[in-house]
């Protein structure tokens, strides 16, 4: 186990390094320097050259990359010239609300998808299964932004049950004070996630039901209830663990469109805006976070899998 962990961690670090490198190169090719942001659109080429020289942006890329890495190790993510703030300040301001939405919708979708998928598997082809499958398929096939827009239209503008926008005070406490307005963004994220999770959960349940040990358990005369609780739920939820690990970064990407729709000044929106203005350091930091989340998500999923299923050996 320890050896496995060490190996996994080494790989993870390698992968994160690779991600930083790839992102850096990509941005480097497309927007070699933030000079224009700093100097303004009417900066003359000479001024840009001078600025680049003064700030080291005319050095070869590996030199700049080394500098960036150096800063990174000191915990310095750089400065957003356009937003007049350090990137770490920006992230700490915006992460709580985005994180809250992501985690809330993740938890909710597991709570819904897990039982739903198993129910569908057990009652395969029943009316309930077909309804759920069709609904899941519709939401799965619908772009997230469309789900969000329809929600706003129906529940905020027509029925006026909630406000169309989340509260202006977007600190964690401020947003929670207006919690009813957080329902819609969370639901929008959850619907899409449930749609995809329950599909997997259903097919996992079907797979497990076809296994010999279920047959054996039944043959032994265990009650259906025991069969389900002891064997089915446990074994069928294994794939869910991997799935959740994989979908952490996806949820953040999904946030982007939802944040735009519900007036949330979160990470996703920060990302889009910085992309449009080539806000270098913000883009790097965002990618870094997503990457680390992905790697960590995978790692945790694998470890959880081992813990919950002794048959999987980590070698």
């Amino acid at each position: 186990m320890a050896g496995y962990l060490i190996r996994r961690l080494t790989t993870a670090i390698l992968v994160v390094f690779g991600i930083i490198l790839v992102t850096f190169l990509m941005l480097h090719i497309i927007a070699p320097s933030p000079a224009i942001t700093v100097l303004g659109p009417k900066a003359q080429p000479a001024a840009i050259k001078a600025w680049n020289h003064a700030n080291g942006f005319d050095k070869p890329w590996w030199d700049q990359f080394a500098t960036y890495l150096g800063h990174l190790f000191q915990g310095n993510l750089g400065y957003s010239y356009h937003l007049n703030q350090s990137v770490s300040a920006l992230l700490t301001e915006k992460a709580p609300l985005s994180g809250l939405l992501t985690i809330a919708s993740l938890v909710l979708s597991i709570l819904v998808a897990l039982p739903l998928g198993i129910y569908q598997g057990v009652k395969r082809n029943s009316f309930g299964d077909i309804t759920a499958t069709s609904l899941a398929m519709i939401f799965y096939s619908m772009p997230t932004f469309l789900v969000a827009l329809v929600l706003v239209q129906v529940f905020a503008l027509s029925l006026k049950w909630v406000n169309p926008n989340v509260p202006q005070d977007q600190t964690l406490s401020g947003a929670l004070a207006g919690w009813p307005d957080l329902i819609m963004p969370i639901v929008a994220l959850t619907l899409t996630a449930v749609a995809s999770y329950s599909r997997y959960q259903r097919s996992a349940a079907l797979d497990v039901l076809a296994q010999d040990y279920i047959k054996v358990a039944r043959a032994k005369g265990l009650s259906e209830r025991l069969v389900y609780s002891r064997h089915l739920v446990r074994n069928a939820s294994l794939p869910m663990i991997t799935l959740i690990g994989l979908s952490l970064p996806l949820l953040i990407a999904g946030n982007l469109l939802v944040e735009y729709t519900f007036n949330i000044n979160g990470l996703g929106l920060l990302f889009v805006n910085s992309l449009q203005g080539y806000d270098y350091n913000v883009l790097m930091a965002y990618t870094l976070i997503t990457a680390v989340l992905t790697v960590v998500g995978n790692l945790i999923a694998d470890i959880c899998l081992t813990l919950s299923d002794p048959r999987i050996k980590l070698v």
Binding site: I36, T37, V38, L39, G40, P41, K42, A43, Q44, P45, A47, I48, W51, Y81, H82, L83, N84, Q85, A89, L90, E93, K94, V152, A156, L157, N163, P164, N165, Q168, D169, Q170, T171, E259, Y260, T261, F262, N263, I264, N265, L269, N273, Q276, G277, Y278
Partner: protein, 629 residues
């Protein structure tokens, strides 16, 4: 139209505010409005109700910050990276007022009632020294008078800032203010003089140079650390130290509400809360305000939004007392009116256009657009009337040059009020065929008669050359896309095939510019990022003169160069009109309708009609506002 985007740039180009309305210009005024029967004569939308006399002091006013323009720089010397009209007019100006105030309501003219002087500067006999007399109307919130020292303090800090880096001032143009100032002095507490290195047109000086002045509290800010002693800011080393200290403080967004520096103001409101995450900000009334108006409303909350529709939803639900309505939501203006909201719109003073690239040698494009008849043919393919109706739902005014028909400036030439190039595919076709082109509608038009004779294609255009090109435009607002799509479809009818590409505002300003990115010259034929807002003295210097810093397409015409220079250095008050007339005919780009800036406000909010009209010109005058009943 692309107002939203052009802000950013605008702030930069925003140099000025102010032109004096010469009485001679009055003659071109009222009589020619009869062309449009029903539209309001001034192209405004909606009405501003008369001010109510039923004043209820106090209350909190909720207004909307513009999308993507959240203010994040508080000191009145704003770097290029943070510069925007919103940051300046709707954030800084609440606390620090400019020396010369404009516009006057929605009229592009000086408003001396809000200014710190009572009239234009006086000019010395040699035309180089300008004397400004303060009127003593304004005091700092700590009780001190605003004096000539505060004006000089601003000047020295400006100088120190741009010496450190030109990027430290968004409005700075090399060779202009403060580089062209040879001497300054403050003969007494209420008098300042500036001496320039050459004779300059007084209106130009006021409109592009003095209009930038925002006096800063020397007695409170002239230090280089929180507890440091006051320094002599006329010494360059001190000025630099002070600038570094102030700009460092301006970078600490989380201290905006606590830093005592920002509490010394001469404007009607001072900051009380700043949300570093969203850019939302609250202001409270400055009880010691002595200037024009009276801050009746106790608190102003500027709210932040991520999309126009999100803002509109809040306006509709009554969460906002005052907010804008973008073209996305024009079809719903009726709903606001049903709620009792007042709605008023007028174009801001500026222009939008798509510009030609005169340096693109691919397929001989530079040779083609160098021909005026080709630019004219293109101009005939832009249907402004249809754009106003279909794209702007009627909420726009036509513009045939840098000065549109509304709002009307004293410098608007008579000729700018009618369309010199009315929409006509046939005329466009005719222009090409009569110059040796074989027009193939929905195919590819080519030059079949090269040469320089009057009925031939023109210098450098080769046989078989076509007119196909790539057009870059900004992806938001959607109106630009609608107009460019229609333009491309019209060009197709005369056999010109356009490749449309979209990009962000920032990228187009930077990449589709022969000034800042010459290496892209052969990649694009035309581009559209929106346009420019203009100063009260709306000269096109920097825009259309050869080598101008905003001359994105590389347009060059020696005659126009001379006219533009005249507007700056000649005391002739007609110089600017002549310049504008020439630009209209020269077509460095295709000018587009000027979209209304529409605002809506709660029936409970009232104030002077001028203060509401000024909102269409980006100005915020809440010191004139109050709640009723």
């Amino acid at each position: 139209m692309s107002r939203r985007n052009l802000r950013v740039l605008q702030a930069a180009a925003l140099v000025a505010t102010g032109a004096l309305a010469l009485s001679a210009c009055g003659s071109s005024g009222g009589s020619n409005n009869n062309t449009k029967p029903n539209a309001a004569a001034d192209y405004s939308y909606g009405t501003i109700p008369a001010a109510s006399s039923n004043v209820v002091p106090g209350g909190t006013l909720h207004i909307a910050e513009d999308i993507g323009a959240q203010p994040n720089w508080i000191m009145p010397l704003t770097p290029a990276a943070n510069s925007s009209v919103y940051d300046q007019y709707q954030f800084q100006y609440l606390s620090w007022r400019s020396l010369f105030w404009s516009p006057k309501g929605s009229t592009p003219d000086w408003d001396y009632s809000r200014s710190m002087t009572d009239g234009k500067p006086t000019v010395s006999a040699d035309g180089k020294t300008f004397t400004i007399k303060l009127n003593g109307k304004y005091t700092w919130s700590d009780g001190q008078k605003v004096t000539s020292k505060d004006v000089l303090f601003w000047y020295y800090e400006y100088k120190a800032a741009v010496k450190e880096s030109p990027a430290n001032m968004g409005n700075y143009t090399v060779g202009q203010f403060p580089d062209n100032v040879t001497a300054v002095s403050a003969p007494d507490d209420q008098t300042v003089t500036f001496t320039f290195n050459q004779v300059l047109n007084p209106d130009w000086v006021l409109g592009t140079e003095f209009s930038q002045i925002v006096p800063m509290p020397a007695h409170a800010w002239a230090k280089s650390s929180d507890n440091g002693s006051m320094l002599d800011y006329t010494q360059p080393a001190n000025a630099k130290a002070i600038y570094d200290y102030l700009s460092a403080a301006s970078k600490k967004l989380d201290t905006y509400q606590t830093n005592p520096l920002w509490q010394v103001v001469d404007g009607p409101y001072k900051i009380s809360m700043y949300n570093t995450s969203t850019g939302a900000a609250n202001f409270v009334a400055n009880k010691n305000y002595t200037g024009e108006g009276k801050p009746n409303i106790a608190e102003i909350d500027e709210l932040a939004y991520t999309s126009p529709t999100a803002e509109f939803n809040d306006l509709q639900s009554g969460k906002l007392d005052f907010g804008y309505v973008k073209s996305d939501n024009y079809p719903q203006l009726g709903k606001l009116k049903t709620n009792g909201y007042n709605v008023y719109g007028l174009p801001s003073f500026g222009f939008n256009f798509s510009y030609f690239n005169f340096k693109n040698t691919t397929g001989g494009w530079d040779k083609a657009v160098a021909q005026l008849y080709i630019r004219q043919a293109f101009a005939h393919l832009q249907d402004e009337d249809a754009e106003i109706k279909g794209v702007f739902k009627g909420l726009a005014a036509p513009a045939y040059g840098p000065l549109g028909v509304a709002p009307k400036s004293p410098y608007t030439p008579e000729s700018a009020l009618t369309n010199p190039f009315p929409f006509s595919v046939d005329t466009a076709k005719q222009l090409l065929t009569s110059h040796g082109w074989t027009v193939v509608p929905n195919g590819t038009t080519t030059c079949t008669s090269p040469g320089t004779a009057a009925n031939q294609c023109g210098a450098g255009i080769t046989k078989g050359q076509n007119l196909d090109f790539t057009l870059f435009y900004t992806s938001t607002p959607k109106s630009v896309g609608q107009m460019m799509t229609a333009f491309a479809a019209n060009l197709k009818q005369i056999g010109v095939n356009v490749t449309l590409k979209t990009d962000t505002f920032n990228n187009i300003v930077t990449n589709e510019s022969v000034v800042s990115t010459p290496k892209n010259n052969n990649n694009w034929g035309m581009a559209d990022f929106g346009g420019f807002t203009e100063s009260i003295y709306p000269s096109t210097i920097n825009l259309f003169n050869t080598g101008g810093s905003y001359n994105q397409g590389g347009f060059s015409d020696p005659t126009l160069d001379k006219l533009i220079n005249n507007s700056m250095v000649s005391p002739d008050s007609n110089a600017l009109k002549n310049e504008i007339t020439a630009v209209d005919a020269d077509l460095p780009g295709l000018f587009q309708p000027n979209e209304d800036r529409v605002y809506a406000w709660s029936p409970k909010l009232s104030g002077s009609t001028d203060s509401f009209a000024a909102a269409t010109q980006f100005m915020l005058n809440p010191e004139d506002w109050y709640f009723t009943k």
